[in-house]
């Protein structure tokens, strides 16, 4: 009983310290979430005084909306491919740079620089690069390869171009996290593995990779949330096209909420995005705990 009272007292005495942050959090985040929930039950353009309540109709509409399902499919494909490739590359680069390579700082910078470049700055460069009149086409023409670069115009290839750009951009982030995780691996464990006859590959797969599991799960969580929030790269490079081939929830919410003034429907999509992000975070958290 006494212990309980002490705990309660500690809890209350700590409250004033967290209260400003708590209020800030409530105002900025939780209120916005509740407000978005409220909006999702309305048929409203965001400006009219008339806000028509439609209950759950926006959610019903969403499940019948082919573009919504296209967004989800794109998100899953985008996450699966970018997660595997960028983390494999990040892991390998980190391993290589933990060995004796020349000019390690230069290499680290080269790998990390794409991550700090703003997508808005790079988007025109990529549009130019992948244009049929662009530099990649000129390069192929010089080599007489007979390849026509119209990949952004093709619904079957545009998404893969965006994935390539995302991998180029985010591999630096994976690399940095894996590099830090590998720094924590006990050297004696690695030496013991060597003495037992393990080669580079075996050591990497069976000794180093398990030590980096926490990092991989963190990257998976960031990757899931990042894929769900994907906006800048498709918006700036393909604007979600052609014909929604590169549409993601983020771009579709913007299209519905701003371009088409269906604020209620955009809010319903946002609520769904939030639910999916929470499920993704919980799933990766569960995977981490299951170890």
């Amino acid at each position: 009983m006494k212990l309980k009272q002490k705990k309660s007292s500690t809890y209350i005495s700590g409250l004033p310290w967290v209260l400003p942050a708590l209020i800030f959090l409530i105002i900025i985040i939780y209120y916005s979430i509740f407000y978005t929930f409220e909006l999702s039950t309305l048929d409203w353009n965001g400006l009219d005084p008339l806000r028509k309540s439609v209950g759950m109709a926006n959610f019903t509409k969403m499940f019948k909306d082919k573009v919504f399902w296209r967004c989800l499919k794109n998100t899953v494909v985008y996450f699966a491919i970018t997660f595997v490739i960028q983390n494999t590359l990040g892991f390998l680069f980190a391993a290589i740079l933990h060995s004796q390579v020349k000019l390690p700082t230069v290499h680290k910078c080269i790998i990390f620089i794409p991550y700090i470049l703003a997508p808005a700055t790079m988007a025109p460069v990529f549009r130019l690069m992948f244009s049929p009149q662009g530099m990649l086409q000129s390069f192929f023409d010089t080599l007489h390869l007979g390849i026509t670069v119209n990949w952004l115009a093709n619904p079957n290839t545009a998404l893969y171009v965006l994935m390539g750009i995302a991998i180029w951009e985010f591999t630096g982030m994976s690399f940095i996290l894996y590099y830090a995780a590998m720094s924590q691996v006990d050297r004696e464990v690695l030496e013991a593995a060597r003495i037992d006859g393990a080669g580079n590959l075996r050591t990497l797969i069976y000794m180093v990779a398990p030590h980096c599991k926490g990092t991989t799960i963190s990257l998976a969580m960031l990757g899931i949330i990042g894929a769900l929030k994907t906006f800048d790269i498709p918006y700036l490079i393909t604007t979600g096209g052609p014909n929604h081939a590169t549409e993601f929830l983020g771009t579709y919410i913007y299209r519905q909420g701003i371009r088409q003034s269906h604020l209620g429907y955009a809010a319903a999509l946002s609520v769904t995005l939030l639910v999916l992000a929470v499920i993704g975070a919980l799933a990766t958290n569960y995977a981490n705990k299951g170890d």
Partner: protein, 456 residues
């Protein structure tokens, strides 16, 4: 216990306060108690918009300040794509917006969305032009800005589309015949391609311009059917409109549309290719006329990263690709109008500016001579003694005839009859049909479905 109670109460109060903010009172959507007539001679006005862009807007303001030196107007420009996103919270907040640009139909700044935030401008126009004000302004500038019987914006100028612009110098250099039908268009493109130049360029990744091309094709197949369908008076599954989709697809299949068109934006990419003389033809409307002015064209060429000298560009009819003989159709609506925010603290000054820009002879003459849009005031026409084109010998007659044809096109709106849902559906269908992921018949059926749904 008391502390917990205090905390809970604080949180509850915070939430209640915020909830109060959220369910805001109805916006001031109707006119102020006293009719606003725009009789101010001093004040400050913040004018939001996306077009025609600096420094032209500042030039308009400079002209305005010759008459109203004590009204300070500040031009706040956003990109065309960001306009709605930026303006909505600004208008909802009621701060920092006095006058703002609006457009007809489903384009950005659509009057259907933003009209609720604007005051009634009819008393001000009556005060400026008299009771017969409607006769003095173009029909489209009044009709498209009237929402539920209230004049919500004052049209500045109209733009028309339905034609191509060609680089006459390139046509002369390679001895290419100006195309009048599908075969000649194809032949022209092939000749240019053989000389390392794109024949026809379109940024088909930017849907609004695809709609222009489709509209032109439909008017070629059967004049008026597109507008009827847009108004719900005909079905999108009408054979003429399905034929239009098939012809649209054939532009890609026949090699008229350049390689990778669906991945290209009309602005800046297609525009830059034309302005840097890497493409010989482009689907642009009357707003492109300003590029026949040497200074404007020079700026456009420099924006396209080219150092070439201004060239001779002329407008031509959309080729008769349907083989019907129906050519020369032009469709248009207001490019932009000026609305006055109902929440503005400078209603009179903002109205004075809007009225000057949209109805005064001085303001509209400035608009006319810029050749950017066709002025709303009927009495304001380009002063051809003052306006000097790049190549007057080849351009003067062509441009004058073109503008005369555009303004006499009759009731054929560009976007005004198309709501936002239909607009999006049309962009989707045109991209789908062009890329081969949708048949013309399926596309037409989808348009009809959306058309019905969006009207119900």
């Amino acid at each position: 216990m008391k502390k917990i109670l205090a905390l809970v109460l604080t949180l509850a109060l915070t939430m209640a306060m915020l909830a109060g903010c959220g369910s805001s009172a109805p916006a001031a959507t109707t006119a102020a108690a006293e009719p606003v007539t725009g009789n101010a001679t001093s004040g400050e006005v913040v004018w939001w918009g996306w077009t025609p862009g600096s420094p032209t807007n500042e030039a308009y303001i400079a002209e305005f300040n010759k008459l109203y030196p004590d009204i300070k107007v500040t031009w706040k420009q956003t990109t065309i794509d960001d306009y709605d996103a930026a303006l909505k919270p600004a208008l909802a907040n009621g701060q920092g917006v006095d006058a703002f640009e609006v457009s007809a139909g489903s384009a950005n700044g659509g009057i259907a969305v933003f009209g609720g935030q604007a005051i009634d401008l009819e008393p001000a126009v009556k005060a400026a032009l008299g009771d017969d004000w409607k006769d003095k302004l173009s029909e489209s500038s009044v009709a498209t800005m009237t929402v539920d019987g209230v004049l919500k914006g004052l049209g500045v100028g109209t733009v028309y589309a339905g034609n191509l612009w060609i680089n006459q110098d390139l046509f002369d250099k390679y001895n290419v015949k100006i195309p009048t039908n599908m075969e000649e268009w194809k032949q022209a493109c092939e000749t240019f391609e053989a000389n390392g130049i794109i024949g026809f360029v379109q940024g088909a990744g930017q849907g609004a311009f695809n709609m222009d091309t489709y509209h032109a094709i439909c008017d070629n197949v059967q004049p008026g059917v597109f507008t009827k369908a847009a108004r719900g008076e005909a079905e999108w599954t009408d054979p003429a409109l399905v034929r239009g989709l098939e012809l649209w697809k054939s532009l890609f299949d026949e090699g008229i549309m350049q390689e990778g068109a669906l991945g290209l934006m009309q602005y800046p990419e297609a525009n830059n290719l034309f302005m840097s003389q890497k493409a010989a033809m482009v689907m642009m409307g009357s707003w492109y006329t300003s590029n026949t002015l040497p200074d404007t064209m020079k700026a456009a060429i420099e924006s396209a990263s080219s150092t070439a000298e201004p060239f001779t560009m002329i407008p031509i009819n959309f080729p008769d690709i349907a083989g019907t003989g129906n050519v020369g159709s032009m469709f248009g609506d207001l490019d932009y109008a000026t609305a006055v925010s109902a929440k503005s603290e400078n209603l009179e000054a903002a109205t004075t500016f809007a009225v000057w820009l949209g109805t005064s002879q001085e303001g509209q003459q400035t608009i006319a001579d810029s050749l950017n849009v066709v002025p709303s005031l009927k009495s304001a026409t380009p002063n051809w003694d003052v306006v000097k084109l790049v190549n007057p010998e080849k351009q003067n007659a062509a441009v004058q005839e073109y503008l005369a044809n555009a303004t006499s096109g009759g009731d054929n709106p560009r976007f005004a009859a198309i709501n936002a849902d239909l607009n999006q559906a049309m962009m989707d269908v045109l991209a789908g049909v062009a890329s081969g992921t949708m048949t013309a018949a399926d596309g037409a059926a989808h348009l009809q479905e959306v058309s019905v749904d969006s009207r119900s």
